[in-house]
């Protein structure tokens, strides 16, 4: 495919010529294809003399004067008086200017074309014999179009040696480019002003919470916020450097949110450059963490898995053979991860640049997910198609779109973790290990970290949720500015014998646990068949249960999807004794739940395990956000300028078209 087709010297082989008898290569040993007897053709109709057989030419050429035998484009332009030259688009005008410019010094070329004042010269095309394309056979219609193109551009016919070739020298500047240059300059200027001065602060910043009508992004945030250190999250980087400006922010925020809670992201992509780019995002996260020794390490805190070749086929392999994919890192080394299937990861997060990526993931991966939701984010270009999938498929949660949603996500994330940091700071006034400064000095659970890559992935903690209150051993400190001074009961030896009311999920499909007892409330968590939760309360008619979740939150689950049971604590934990023992060793802090709906929910506090095996606020809070606001302002101002440019340009051109039509009407 390396050779270019020589349009000028191309000569179609005579169709009537007999085929060569000797066949090249090994084909001579193959049997010849038998010749089928010819079928009777269509009867030849007599030609009608009254209808002239016109060649298939564009309208411009049919209107040319018949005196010209083989007119060139320059001829057509010069003789076609009905259409002024300024109506032609820039490309044709530029071609014409180049033809005029190049024909001035080329007297020989002018002489070669009889009675032509202006010349559109053909660029020099060198012939390279052989090659794949030059051997390609053209259809009859294509041959006619080649000849037509030669006629229009005034190219010499094959074998016409009288016309010398002209080397074009394009002009450095064309007058027709002035409007484009002005428009570009204005757009660039307006988009740059917010970076120079804060006086150009047009428009509002994105909200600090997702709008209450947008349940998708809110649910996505909630699900990632419920991660625990035992969770693995598959993060698909399906965007290249072209979309880095738009999607880097949300990719970085997702990673920060995941690693801040000590969950482990497994990065994967069907785009090889995206894998390398993911390393840069990780480096950016690491650079922002000030204290030493806490940076993320490949193979311990995150994994980058091998490249998935083949587009949709690669994704198919991911969903069918995730155990194999997770076994090898992008460096070709063994990761030590052992998974049975894609359902062993807690969530799949996908960041798509193109609608095609979203389609591939929705069609190849999402149907294979039984328990794991797919959380989706995309750029603006892919959003219309991606939103259709997010709205249609229960497995897909989202959609977070573009840079503005990334800003809102960052606001929510930072408010949440800043509150945690403040709580920890104030709580730690009496205990050294609780202060944020001391967080860094706490010895990391090295044994657990060392085991992590080798550990078999376990189902998410929500599968066997420990009760939210009972096993917590310490007095819960009072959070600032709150009226919730809850003191948790001290565990007793008989605590495990206590009978409690629980619900067991009986629905075979994934069940949504919501913030309130209606389907309109936000989704907090997902549950599978067999999961059990302790009952806190019921709503008025008993159709919804208020249940305790593993992370200290409480949620609501529909009664028709569960079955109520009475179990002892030991039965309820069912092998979770280890978990309760582990919990008893950890400090318990109060953490404020982020109020997700403006003016709807009051802030409240729940218990969380922090900071030793819990959240690391520094990963979220130590971001450089200095360029975010000017950039959002620039987006607003740039869009506004674009609107004005498009509106103004089209009004001018529409008026011009109307005046032209009026003038043509008067002439007729």
């Amino acid at each position: 495919m390396s050779e270019e087709f020589n349009w000028l010297d191309y000569a179609e082989p005579d169709e009537e010529a007999p085929a060569p008898s000797a066949r090249p290569g090994l084909r001579r040993f193959l049997p010849r294809r038998p010749t089928l007897p010819s079928l009777p053709g269509r009867p030849r109709l007599p030609s009608l003399p009254s209808i002239p057989s016109l060649p298939r030419l564009p309208r411009l050429r049919r209107r040319a004067q018949p005196a010209l035998d083989k007119p060139s484009a320059a001829d057509l332009l010069s003789v076609h008086e009905e259409r002024p030259l300024d109506e032609l688009d820039d490309r044709l005008q530029s071609l014409r200017e180049r033809a005029v410019a190049s024909s001035q010094p080329e007297a020989e070329a002018r002489q070669a074309l009889y009675d032509v004042d202006e010349l559109l010269a053909a660029p020099e095309i060198l012939r390279k014999p052989g090659g794949v394309i030059s051997a390609a056979a053209l259809s009859k219609a294509q041959r006619q179009q080649v000849e037509l193109l030669k006629d229009i551009v005034g190219a010499p016919q094959a074998g016409d040696a009288s016309v010398s070739r002209i080397r074009l020298s394009p002009p450095l500047f064309s007058l027709s480019a002035i409007p484009r240059i002005i428009g570009t300059a204005v757009l660039l200027l307006m988009a740059s002003l917010p970076f120079v001065s804060s006086d150009f602060a047009e428009g509002e910043l994105p909200p600090s919470e997702f709008h209450e009508d947008r349940h998708g992004p809110t649910t996505l945030y909630n699900l990632l916020d419920n991660l625990t250190p035992a969770d693995y999250v598959l993060v698909a980087f399906e965007y290249g450097p072209t979309a880095a400006g738009e999607l880097d922010a949300i990719a970085e925020l997702f990673l920060r949110h995941i690693v801040a809670q000590r969950a482990v992201p497994l990065i994967v992509s069907s785009n090889p450059i995206a894998i390398a780019h993911a390393q840069n995002i990780i480096s950016r996260v690491n650079r922002s963490v000030a204290f030493s020794g806490e940076s993320l390490r490949h193979g311990r805190d995150y994994f980058i898995l091998r490249y998935l070749p083949g587009g949709p086929l690669g994704l198919r392999e991911l969903s069918e053979n995730f155990a194999d994919v997770a076994r090898v890192s992008y460096k070709g080394t063994l990761t030590g991860l052992q998974f049975d299937s894609l359902d062993d990861v807690t969530y799949v997060v996908m960041i798509a640049e193109r609608a095609e990526d979203m389609r591939n993931w929705a069609e190849q991966v999402a149907p294979q997910l039984d328990r794991t939701p797919l959380l989706a984010a995309s750029g603006y270009a892919a959003a219309p198609l991606a939103q259709v999938y997010a709205d249609s498929m229960d497995e897909i949660v989202g959609l977070v779109v573009g840079y503005r949603d990334a800003y809102t996500y960052a606001e929510m994330l930072e408010a949440n973790f800043a509150e945690l940091l403040r709580d920890a700071s104030e709580l730690g006034s009496g205990s050294a290990e609780a202060s944020p400064a001391k967080i860094d000095e706490q010895p990391r659970n090295e044994a657990a970290q060392a085991e992590r890559p080798l550990a078999t992935a376990v189902p998410p903690a929500s599968a066997i949720p420990p009760p939210a209150v009972a096993p917590l051993p310490t007095t819960t400190p009072r959070p600032p500015n709150t009226e919730t001074p809850t003191e948790t009961a001290l565990p007793t030896a008989t605590a495990t014998q206590q009978m409690i009311s629980v619900v067991e999920v009986t629905s075979p499909r994934q069940v949504r646990i919501r913030r309130g007892p209606t389907t309109a409330d936000d989704i907090l968590q997902l549950a599978q068949a067999g999961d059990m939760f302790q009952i806190i309360a019921t709503n008025g008619d008993g159709s919804w249960y208020n249940i305790a979740l593993s992370n200290g939150l409480d949620g609501w689950i529909a009664g028709i999807l569960v079955e109520e049971k009475a179990l002892s604590m030991a039965e309820f934990l069912g092998g979770g004794g280890e978990a309760s023992a582990r919990l008893s060793d950890e400090r318990v802090y109060l953490r404020r739940e982020w109020s997700l709906s403006l003016g709807k929910n009051r802030p409240r506090y729940y218990q969380s395990n922090a900071p030793i095996t819990g959240d690391i606020p520094e990963y979220v809070l130590m971001r450089d956000r200095s360029a975010e606001v000017p950039r959002l302002r620039a987006m607003t101002l740039g869009t506004l300028t674009t609107v004005v440019t498009i509106a103004l340009g089209n009004v001018i051109f529409a008026l011009s078209a109307l005046r032209r039509r009026q003038r043509n009407g008067e002439r007729k």
Binding site: S2, L30, P31, R33, D89, P179, R180, G183, T184, L187, L188, E202, G203, E204, L205, P206, G240, P241, T242, A243, A244, G245, I273, A276, H277, Q279, N280, S283, P309, G310, L313, G314, E317, E320, N321, K331, R359, P384, L385, Q387, V388, D391, R404, T636, T639, L640, T642, V643, T645, I646, A647, L648, G649, N650, V651, F653, A654, S656, A657, L658
Partner: protein, 211 residues
């Protein structure tokens, strides 16, 4: 039987095996509650699984072949004095050298490729904006007017200005109803087209492997 016929038969057999394996494999419910149905479903899934993995390996190998072919072509162009081919080959050699010396370093990607591709995306925006301003020059009719009106509505709807709340509502409706309907129609078309192309490929009607 010629080479084309043989290739067609192989393609047909492989395609049919894969389709049947994907449809019947890993789905024991198809065979009822009889003993051994799970094993049967697992065995049925095996051919499709193996063939798909082979295909993925072939695709991965084709990337290597593509790189070798690219180098071969540009070395050939270099002998004819093509400057851009020299730049490409020098960049290729430098990148390989850099990554060999600084193993795992992605600063070249961050410092060169990301800015260049981002700049190209910005250029595309400028071209689209200027092209949008000239719609009525090319097509001064009702369809051009409709196009411009929709573009302006969507752009105005995306602006975070309180004064444009009605336009924002209209823009949201536009995206939620007509655009969503169009997107679903496109998805249906893609699905139907994929089926047609798949059937043509399996039946050997496509030219690629007919010799």
């Amino acid at each position: 039987m010629g080479r084309a016929g043989l290739a067609g038969i192989v393609a047909f057999a492989v395609g049919l095996t894969t389709v049947l394996s994907l449809l019947l494999g890993n789905n024991p419910a198809l065979f009822g509650d009889q003993p051994g149905s799970e094993e049967l479903a697992r065995r049925l899934a095996l051919p499709g699984d193996v063939l798909l993995r082979l295909l993925v390996i072939v695709i991965a190998l084709s990337i290597v072949i593509g790189i070798v072919n690219l180098l071969y072509i540009h070395i050939g162009r270099l002998t004819r004095g093509k400057f851009y081919s020299a730049v490409l080959l020098a960049s290729f050699a430098f990148t390989i050298f850099w990554l060999t010396v600084n193993r795992g370093d992605t600063s070249l990607l961050e410092a060169v490729q990301v800015p260049i591709e981002s700049a190209l995306a910005a250029l595309l925006f400028l071209s689209l904006a200027l092209g949008g301003a000239r719609v009525m020059q090319k097509r001064a009719d009702i369809w051009g007017l409709l196009f411009v009106a929709v573009v302006l509505s969507v752009l105005l709807g995306s602006l975070p200005l309180a004064e444009l709340a009605p336009v924002r509502a209209f823009s949201a409706w536009l995206l939620a109803v007509p655009v969503s309907a169009g997107a679903r129609a496109i998805l249906l078309g893609i699905a139907l087209g994929t089926i047609v192309v798949g059937v043509r490929a399996v039946l050997g009607l496509d030219r690629s492997y007919r010799g």
